[in-house]
Structure formats: C-alpha cells, structure tokens
C-alpha cells in the first residue's frame, strides 16, 4: 500500500470504496481538493455522492481506499473526529434542534463555560458575531423552531464555520431553497473559498456548479466517470456524463388508443410541496413522472391517491370529478397507489404475506361480515400464481427477498382492478430478474386498458416504460415529453431546470 501523501496540502481521497453486503455503492473513487478551491460533485440519484461525503466526514467507514489530509494519513472514526481534523459536512437535511435557541444550536456539545455554568453572554456574543459575518439576520436568543428553511440552512453553515474547518462539504445546500436564498448560500461558499477553505460542493443545480466550481467530478453508479479540471464546464457535458449509459432493453406497452381519458388532473397544488400540476392520463397509457429527489413527484401522487390533502385543483377519473380526503376515498374512486418504501409504507413486515395482500380488501372479501383464514389464503394463493411470488405466503413477509416483497406489494394492490394505478419507485432495491418481471406486470396492466403512473428516480426505468414523461423540479411540472422525443439528456435538462 502506498503510504506517501500525494501532496503536502489538501484533502486527497484515493480508491475509496464502500459496499453494503454484496452491493457496491462506491467503487474506487479518487478526488483531490486543494485549499481555496471549490470542487463540484455531480451525479444522478444513487450515484454515490452522499456515501462519498459521508466517508470524508467520518459518518461511515470506507470498505477500502486511502485518504490524506494536508500530507498526513486521514481516517476519521466519527464525525467529531473529522471536525477536529478540520473537515466539516453541511448536511442536506437540516439537523437543528427546534427547541433550543440559535446560539445553543451553534455551540451544541461545546457550550462556553464560566465557573461551572454556561457563559450565556459570551455564547450569544460569539453567535451574533459569526451570524453577522455570514449576513444572517437572526437573534441568537430565539429558538430555532419557526425559522424559515433558508435561515436554518444559514445557521447550519454558521455552525460549521464556528469550528473553523479547513475543508467543507456542502451536500445540496440549496435543494430546498428558492433562487434568492440560494444566492446567499453561494456568497457564503465564495467567502469561504476566498478565506482559503477547500470546498466540495454537491448540487443538482448545474448553473450553480458552473458558476462556483473550479473543478467538477461526476459520479455514476459508484464510479468516477469524468473529471473537468478547468472552468467553465459546459452544462451539456455535465448532463451527458450524469446520464450517459447505454439502454439495453425496451419495455414499452402497446401505444394507447388515446380516445378515453382515465385521469385528468388540473391545477393541482399543495402548499410547500408542489403547485400547478396538470396532466391527463389515457386508458392503456403509462405516464412516467421523472425528477430528482425532492422535486415533489411523490407529493403529487400521494395527493392524487388521497394520502395527503390537496389544497387546490381538480381530479377527474374517467370524466367524473372526484373528491376524497383519504386513501379509502381514492380507492373507491378507482385510484390505487403502491407507495414508495415498501418497508415503511407498503407492507407490515411482521405479518404474513397473505395477510398483507388481503389487508385493503377484507371488508369486501368478508361473507356475512366474517373473514376466515381460508379466504385470505385463497386470495393470496391466486395472487401468488398471477405474479409468480416465490416464498411461503404464511411466513412474515420480512422473510422474503426484496423482489418478492415488491411483488407482494403489487399483488396487494391488484386484488381488485383500479382505473388508475400509481406505482412509486416500483423497483427500488430489487434484483434485475424481479425488475423485469415487475416491468412486464405494469406493461400488461396498461395493455389491458388501465391507466398507469410510474414515479421513478431511475431514468432508464421511466424512459423504458413510459409512453409519456412528466418531468418535475422544485414542485413544478417542467414539461411533458412523448417517448419518441425523450432522450435521457432532455429529461435531465428539465429535471435540473429552475
């Protein structure tokens, strides 16, 4: 193993690897960051950016590879270790404690003491000073709860700045912010850079990356695929590098007849999540909804399926205006949704697969108000054969493989036939075989005349399955692309637009 540092200064990672069991999420990634430079890190959802950052910041340990910090070997054992070495991570999600004051949050874990008591005066004074240098106008004595996302994000940055790091990682700091607020964050980054701090900047907003970064590294499927060492980097080149992969299979259902509308959504909006979403879904059509994580795709389909409230807009199923305030109401209207996250929202892992399958239908399956194990097993067995579920239906569904769990989840929602079938991330965490089987199921449903909506973070999946693709970013529809006109590049260009 090479133990000599590549350079006397800077943060260097060489051959960083991380695998969870048999799944390699990071496959030998190199990155060098010099003081006073900003390196952009881009990539699709699941490309390995967050894992990479987590390793640098000591949150997770790498499975392989080496790191050096200013000429010395660097292997942080914990986030505190990383911070003490001068490396700070500013998280994508805000992790402030709402009940504590701004100043207490800033000094959490290392409150200034005087004579055995917290030196509030000093703490507040120092907090005020750092907030002022960052241009954040907030009283350090007020509690964090109730502050806007933008201000909270600034407090997160102040928290990192207070520890005087030499290297800072920003993990999508502007994802939840509007244009003007994002501008403020960019100023902070430029200020840090001018002060000689090295910055790794992760963002899906490519114009930000273009403006800020001296170098850009693109990850895809856990590999470093491209590295641009000179600015400016063309947006087109970045998009190509993020998505650039060959399409190996096509799985389109036959083209829909387009004369019967299954679902019409007009001007749908929910405060703080999405607004002004309109689209139509024809019978026999598969509509893909694409976008980056946090674009509001799941919020839209949850509201259409009655899981969340809808503030504005109308929904028509087969021409009939419908209104409902619960998933049951949506089901009665003919809209079924298979939620994302089968473990948290879709299945009750401790119950048997059979009981999971019949859960939504027990009232309808009951005879004289009574449902027996025999009915449950008969329905489950029918679904097992229809969807080729492998595993014992009587055992807790947690004993099945991910692919079979996902099939159980689909089977649960297809005991009856909906008019509109929504699937959110239908193949997350399943193997290729099960993936193909699930695509076939969705294709068959559409071919049979059902309207299907597929929400997916996998571009390949959306492009391969859908007749049309609705692309979202920041809670808004950015365009609807017909399949023959949609290239990965077009979709990604819309997904990163603001």
């Amino acid at each position: 193993m090479d133990t000599t540092a590549p350079a006397p200064t800077g943060l260097h990672a060489s051959g960083l690897k991380k695998s969870y069991g048999a799944i390699e999420v990071l496959k030998s990634v190199d990155l060098s960051l010099a003081p006073g430079r900003v390196v952009g890190l881009i990539g699709e959802n699941g490309a390995g950016k967050s894992t990479f950052n987590a390793i640098i910041a000591g949150v997770v340990a790498p499975s392989g590879g080496q790191m050096w910090l200013d000429g010395a070997p660097y292997s942080p054992q914990s986030p505190a270790d990383a911070i003490n070495s001068g490396v700070a991570l500013i998280h994508q999600e805000i992790r402030l404690l709402p009940g504590l004051s701004v100043a207490e949050n800033l000094f959490l874990g290392r409150l200034p003491m005087k004579a055995g008591r917290v030196d509030r005066a000093r703490m507040e004074q120092e907090a005020r000073a750092v907030l002022e240098t960052l241009g954040a106008h907030v009283d350090p004595r007020r509690p964090v709860g109730g502050l806007t996302m933008a201000v909270q994000q600034e407090i997160e940055i102040a928290k990192a700045v207070l520890r005087k790091p030499r290297y800072v990682i920003f993990d999508e700091p502007t994802a939840a912010l509007g244009e003007a607020e994002a501008e403020n964050i960019i100023d902070q980054v430029l200020r840090m850079k001018a002060a000689g701090t090295g910055v790794i900047y992760v963002s899906h907003r490519l114009d930000e990356v273009q403006r800020l970064c001296d170098e850009v590294v693109c990850l895809r499927d856990g590999n470093r695929v491209t590295h641009w060492a000179t600015r400016p980097v063309a947006k087109d080149a970045m998009i190509n590098a993020m998505v650039g992969r060959a399409f190996t299979f096509e799985h389109h259902a036959p083209a829909p007849s387009r004369d019967k509308v299954a679902l019409e959504v007009e001007g749908a909006g929910r405060a703080g999540a999405f607004r002004d979403i309109s689209f139509t879904l024809h019978e026999g059509e598969i509509l893909g909804i694409a976008g980056l994580v946090g674009a509001g795709r799941t919020d839209v389909v949850r509201a259409i399926a009655g899981a969340d409230r809808l503030d504005t807009g109308t929904i028509r199923v087969a021409g009939q205006a419908v209104q409902f305030r619960s998933p049951r109401g949506a089901m009665d209207a003919g809209i079924f949704m298979v939620p994302e996250d089968r473990k948290g929202l879709g299945l009750n892992l401790d119950r048997s697969a059979a009981e999971n399958i019949t859960l939504p239908w027990e009232k309808k399956l009951a005879r004289f108000g009574q449902i027996t194990g025999r009915t449950v097993n008969a329905v489950a067995e029918r679904q097992r054969q229809r969807f080729d579920i492998r595993g014992r239906l009587g055992l807790p569904v947690s004993s099945m493989s991910g692919g079979n769990q996902q099939k159980v989840l689909l089977a649960k929602w297809l005991v009856e036939e909906p008019k509109v079938f929504i699937v959110d991330e239908p193949t997350r965490g399943v193997d290729v075989g099960a993936k193909m089987a699930i695509y076939q199921i969705l294709r068959d449903l559409a071919a049979g005349g059902m309207g299907v909506i597929v929400v997916s973070s996998e571009l390949e999946e959306v492009l391969g399955l859908s007749h049309r693709i609705l692309v979202m970013s920041e809670g808004q529809a950015r365009g609807v692309l017909p399949r023959d006109k949609a290239s990965p590049k077009d979709v990604m260009a819309l997904a990163v637009s603001a």
């Binding site: 049951r328 939620p339 879709g346 027990e362 009574q370 004993s399 493989s401």
Partner: protein, 337 residues
C-alpha cells in the same frame, strides 16, 4: 442482506425440525414443538405446579373457583386494555372509569331514585363516553394516548369523588347483588361473563375485518391508512370499547361488594397492564391477543391467590408481580436476527 440471512436461517430450522431421524434430531424436534408453546403458558404451568406443592389448599375445586371469581373484574378490564395496546396505544383511565361509572350508577339510583336497570345503563354509557373522549383526543386531537388518558384518568377520579362528596354508596338491589353468588354449572356468573367476553373479542380479532385491522394499525398506522383502513375511526372504536368494558367490570365489582367506593378500581390499572404485558403483548403495538391476555390474567390470579395462601405479606406481593413481569417479557423476547 438481512432478508437473505433470515431466509436461510428459517430454512435451516425448518429442515432440522422435520427430520427427526437421529437421536439429536428427536431432541430438536421436541424442542421445536416446545418452542411453539406460548411462553406465558409455560409460566402459568410453572407457577401452578409450584403452588400445588407449596400449599395443600391450592389445588382444590373451591380454590380454583375462587381464583376465577377473583380475577373477573380485572380480567374484563384487561380485554379493553389489550385492544388498546394492540393498536399501539395505552389507556391509563380504565381504573378511574371503573370508579366513575360505578359511582354515577349508585348515585343516580340512591339519590334520584332512578330505576337500577336504567342507572346501570347510564353507568355503562359513562364508560363508553370517557372512551370516546380518549379516542377523539388521541386521534383527531393528536394528543399522545398516554397524555390524553392520563388527563381523563385524573378527571374521572375527581368526578367519582365529587358526585357524593367522597362518600361511598351502599345498598344495591338484592336481585343485583345476588348475581355475585349465582353459579351456573358450578361456575360463578361473573367468570362466565368474563369468558364470554374473551371469546367474543377473540372472534372479533380473528374473523371480523375491523377487529383484524387492529393488528394492521398497531403494526404500522400509515401502512393501514394507505391500505384504505379508516384508522382514526377504528382507534376511536377501540377506546370506546375499553371504556365500556371498564364500566362492565364496575358492575361486576358493585355486585360483589354491594357498594360503590369512589376509589374503587384505582389500584387495578397496573394489574391490568401487567396482565396484558405478561400475556405477550408489546406496548409498541401490533401483537398480543385474547389467548395470551387470558393466560396473563391467570398467572396474576394464581400468583396473588397462592401468595395469600402461603401468608406472603401483602406488601411483598407487588414485588413478586414485578419480577413476574420482567421474567415474562424477557422470556417472550424474540431472538434477534
């Protein structure tokens, strides 16, 4: 990955359990059968056998009937408590509801000359009403059930004292108190009532869609809601049932004591929760059932009765119950994956 592991593990166990060819296989087979016996039942058998040895009076027909009769009241309350715990909630007000519904009943009957049948029905209504309030507070009101029922517990015990200014009421109709000594086929009426409630609720939990939904709600409320179950309506119903069953227990208590005390039932809360927990239910919700609760009830009943026969100081008895809770929960813990 853990899925694959547990799958392999399960298959491995399966193979061992079904090939009892060799000597070790036989022993393993017996062990596998033993594993299917619920833990609480083993505990019940152990304490039962122990007391049979320790006291000559324990294993007699008369004493067995005594045990059954003594546990009827907390047994009926425990059914409601178990339902609430299955949906992942908790009802601290059951004991106070016993006191309030019994006092209202006795007060209306004595001070206002309300016919006893009517006053009893009003007493049951009071129980159901408190349950309704608990349910509405903890669902639509979004107050944690612990806090909501703590508040109603406090309010109910206060009201129970208030109606008669703290005084007990004695003298129920003779036909009513006669129920307490009625035997059918040699079994006390209140015990038969209790068993009937256990059977009815067990049927509801196993064969009726709404009853079955309790497990789905307790396992994950959001999964149940997204599956089209009206989770809030079901939860409110469960709290109403818990209040109503506490009021039924109050009637059983009133008939036995021929009087109503404003602090009756106050000490039963912990026994009731102990019964449910010893019966294998988890306070996290999603599991538990009538069979387990009934066994838990008998364990508490046998322990109390046996210790009384052995002249164990009444002050020490709660210590033993506490130890029993810990042992039961530890034995019931599923091996970690």
């Amino acid at each position: 990955m853990s899925e694959v592991n547990s799958n392999l593990h399960g298959a491995d166990r399966h193979v061992r359990a079904t090939t009892p060819g060799a000597q070790g296989g036989l022993a393993d087979g017996a062990l596998a059968i033993l594993r299917r016996v619920p833990g609480p039942l083993i505990g019940l058998i152990l304490v039962f056998v122990a007391f049979s040895y320790l006291s000559p009076y324990f294993l007699t027909y008369r004493n067995m009937i005594n045990i059954f009769s003594q546990v009827s009241e907390i047994g009926i309350m425990a059914v409601g408590a178990a339902l609430v715990i299955i949906i992942g909630g908790i009802d601290l007000s059951v004991g106070a509801v016993v006191a309030l519904s019994l006092m209202v009943n006795a007060w209306l009957y004595r001070d206002f000359g309300v016919p006893f049948v009517l006053s009893s029905l009003i007493g049951l209504g009071v129980g159901a009403l408190v349950g309704l309030i608990n349910g509405v507070l903890s669902t639509y009101g979004r107050i944690q059930p612990f806090v909501a029922t703590l508040a109603t517990m406090s309010a109910c015990s206060g009201l129970a004292l208030f109606v008669t200014n703290g005084g007990p009421v004695t003298g129920f109709p003779d036909w009513f108190t006669a129920f307490a000594s009625t035997r059918i086929l040699g079994l006390p009426l209140e015990s038969l009532l209790m068993v009937a409630i256990y059977l009815a609720v067990a049927y509801w939990l196993t064969f009726r869609p709404t009853g079955r939904a309790l497990y789905a709600i307790g396992g994950s409320e959001e999964v149940a809601r997204l599956s089209g179950i009206d989770t809030r309506r079901v939860k409110v119903l469960v709290y109403i049932l818990a209040g109503l069953l506490a009021a039924v227990a109050a009637l059983v208590l009133g008939a036995r004591l021929d009087s109503a005390h404003p602090t009756a039932g106050a000490s039963d809360l912990l026994s009731v929760i102990a019964v449910v927990v010893i019966g294998g239910a988890s306070l996290a919700g999603g599991n538990g059932g009538m069979m387990g609760t009934f066994i838990g009830l008998l364990i508490i009943g046998v322990l109390r009765n046996g210790m009384a026969l052995l002249n164990v100081s009444p002050n020490l008895q709660p210590v033993v119950i506490g130890i029993a809770i810990i042992i039961a929960v530890m034995l019931d813990r599923k091996p970690a994956n």
